[in-house]
C-alpha cells in the first residue's frame, strides 16, 4: 500500500503548502482578500492531509 505511493514525499509537499500559507498570511497583514482566500486554501490542504498525510499515522 504505502510502497506503491510516495507518501513521505507527498506529505512533505503538503507541509510546505501549509508553511507557505502561514507566510502569506503574515505578509498579507490586514488584507481581507488574502486572509479569507487562505481560509479556503487551508481547508483544501486539510483534505490532502486527510487523504495522504494521515497514512503516515500507521506507516
Amino acid at each position: 500500500m504505502a510502497k506503491e505511493y510516495k507518501i513521505d514525499e507527498m506529505d512533505a509537499k503538503i507541509q510546505e503548502i501549509k508553511k507557505a500559507v502561514e507566510e502569506i498570511e503574515k505578509l498579507g497583514g490586514d488584507i481581507e482578500a488574502v486572509k479569507k482566500n487562505l481560509v479556503r486554501l487551508r481547508a483544501s490542504t486539510k483534505m490532502l492531509e486527510l487523504n495522504i498525510s494521515d497514512v503516515k499515522l500507521v506507516m
Binding site: M1, Y5, L50, V55
Partner: protein, 442 residues
C-alpha cells in the same frame, strides 16, 4: 472507467489492509476526542464526568468506554449559548460558515454548524461516494432538490464539482420543468430521494416523456432506505433504465456510507468514520454479520460540531459477504434496515415499516405510493394499509388483495385492513416521505 483506469477516489485509503485501517481509526478517534475535549465545553464536561481524558484512548476497547451522545443531547445544548448551536460548538462562532438543520422527522430540528473546512470535508466524503458509483468528469449531473436549510444534496453538488462533473442545479423548478431541463441538457445522472425519483418518472410519463429515453445512466438516492430495498430499487431502475445507488448520511453525522458499482451492500467510509453496531438489549458491540443492532458512529474529522459516538438509532447489520470491488471498507447489508425508535410493536409483534414497503413495491399492479396507519380501538391495535391500484389492473382487485394480504402476513406476521384509494390520491412527497403513521396514544 476513469482515464487512469482507477475505480477508487483514493486507492491508498480505500484498499488499506484491515489491520492498518483499524489502527488508523483508533489514532483518528483519539485525535477528534482530544479536539472535542479541548475546544467544546459540552464534550469536556461529558468526558470529565465520565473520568476520561485523551490519554485514555489507546485501543478499540478504550473507545467502547467513551460516553455516547444522542439527538436529545444535541437538542438540549441548543438551549445554551452561543446561539443557536449551544456549547457543543468547538470553534469560535465567527469561524462558522454554513448553517443546516435536520428535517425534524423525529422532533425538534437540530441546528448544524460547519466551518469552511467542514464543508470541504462534506464534499470530500461525497467525492468518495460519487467516484465509487462511477461518476466522472464526463457526467452532467442534475440536482432536483430545494437548495435550502436541509443538507440534502448540497454536499453532493460540491462533490460533483470537485470530480469535474458539470452540475445543473434544479432548485426552484417544478417537477415537469426539471424533467424537461434534464431532457434538454441530456443529463447523464441525478440524485434525489427514492420517493421523488419514482414520482419524477410518473410525471415524465404524464407529459409524454419516457424517462428511459432521457439518457440517465446513474441515479444516487439518499434520505430514505428505498434504494437498498430490492423491490423499490428494481422499480426505479426499470422506470429510468439506469443504475441506482444508495447512499446514507445525516446532517449531524456526514455522508458515511455508499453503494459502489457492484451494488452489493453499502461500504462504510472507514477512513472518515468509525461505525460500531450495538446490541439493543445487551449493549454489547456486535462484530458478527447479519445481526441487527443500532449504529453508534464517530466522524473523525468534523471540526465545528464534533460527532463522537453518536447513537443514531439507525438499525444496521454487518454483511456476511464481501464486495468484488476490492475496497477493504466494511459493508453493511441492506442499508439502514430500520430505526430503533421506528420498530414498534403492533398487536404484540415487532414491526419494521421497511418490511411493508418491500411487499407493496413487489406488486407491479400497485402504484408507488402507500400509507400505513396504526390506531388503537379499545385495547386492540388496528393496522390499516392504504394502497392505489394502477390503471388497467382494477378488475384484478380481489386477486391483488388476497395476494397482498398473504405476502404481508408472511413478511410481517400481521393481518392488515386494506383500503384501496383512487390512483394518484394518496400524498406525494418531494423530500422524506411519511408513510407510516402511528396514531395510538402513547
Amino acid at each position: 472507467m476513469a482515464k487512469n483506469g482507477s475505480i477508487y477516489w483514493n486507492p491508498i485509503m480505500e484498499t488499506m489492509p484491515r489491520e492498518k485501517l483499524r489502527e488508523l481509526q483508533v489514532k483518528k478517534f483519539k485525535r477528534v476526542f482530544e479536539w472535542a475535549y479541548k475546544n467544546s465545553p459540552f464534550y469536556k464536561k461529558l468526558y470529565k464526568d465520565a473520568g476520561m481524558e485523551p490519554g485514555d484512548i489507546k485501543t478499540l476497547e478504550d473507545i467502547k468506554k467513551v460516553p455516547k451522545t444522542d439527538k436529545g443531547m444535541l437538542r438540549e445544548v441548543q438551549n445554551r449559548p452561543p446561539f443557536p448551536y449551544g456549547d457543543m460548538l468547538a470553534v469560535p462562532l465567527q469561524d462558522v460558515t454554513e448553517f443546516r438543520q435536520t428535517s425534524g422527522t423525529t422532533g425538534t430540528p437540530v441546528y448544524q454548524a460547519d466551518t469552511w473546512q467542514d464543508w470541504e470535508w462534506w464534499a470530500e466524503s461525497w467525492a468518495y461516494i460519487l467516484y465509487a458509483q462511477g461518476y466522472r468528469d464526463t457526467d452532467r449531473m442534475f440536482l432536483p432538490f430545494g437548495y435550502n436549510i436541509f443538507v440534502a444534496f448540497w454536499a453532493c453538488h460540491y462533490a460533483a464539482e470537485k470530480l469535474g462533473c458539470e452540475v445543473v442545479p434544479g432548485g426552484v423548478l417544478d417537477t415537469e420543468a426539471r424533467i424537461m431541463k434534464m431532457q434538454e441538457l441530456k443529463c447523464t445522472a441525478f440524485g434525489a430521494t427514492p420517493t421523488y425519483v419514482l414520482g419524477m418518472a410518473d410525471t415524465a410519463r404524464k407529459i409524454g416523456i419516457d424517462p428511459r429515453s432521457i439518457g440517465i445512466q446513474r441515479i444516487t438516492c439518499a434520505g430514505e432506505p428505498g434504494a437498498s430495498i430490492p423491490t423499490t430499487k428494481q422499480r426505479i431502475e426499470e422506470a429510468w433504465g439506469a443504475k441506482v445507488y444508495d447512499h446514507i448520511g445525516a446532517t449531524e453525522i456526514g455522508a458515511w456510507s455508499y453503494m459502489c458499482t457492484a451494488q452489493k451492500g453499502l461500504h462504510i467510509n472507514e477512513a472518515f468514520f468509525l461505525v460500531e453496531i450495538e446490541d439493543t438489549e445487551t449493549g454489547e458491540i456486535i462484530e458478527e454479520p447479519m445481526k441487527n443492532g443500532k449504529m453508534i458512529i464517530t466522524a473523525f474529522d468534523r471540526q465545528a460540531k464534533p460527532c463522537i459516538r453518536f447513537d443514531s438509532k439507525d438499525v444496521i447489520r454487518w454483511a456476511d459477504y464481501e464486495c468484488e470491488c476490492g475496497r477493504t471498507f466494511r459493508i453493511i447489508d441492506g442499508g439502514v434496515v430500520g430505526r430503533a425508535d421506528d420498530i414498534t410493536k403492533v398487536k404484540g409483534v415487532l414491526l419494521a415499516p421497511t418490511a411493508i414497503e418491500e411487499v407493496v413495491r413487489s406488486f407491479n399492479e400497485l402504484s408507488d405510493e402507500y400509507e400505513v396507519i396504526v390506531t388503537k380501538k379499545g385495547d386492540i391495535d388496528d393496522i390499516m394499509l392504504k394502497i392505489e391500484i394502477k390503471p388497467g389492473f382494477e378488475k384484478q382487485e380481489a386477486d391483488i388483495l388476497n395476494r397482498l394480504k398473504d405476502q404481508l402476513r408472511v413478511k410481517t406476521n400481521l393481518g392488515y385492513k386494506i383500503e384501496i384509494h383512487p390512483y394518484e390520491s394518496l400524498p406525494r412527497y418531494a423530500l422524506k416521505a411519511k408513510r407510516f403513521k402511528d396514531l395510538r396514544p402513547h
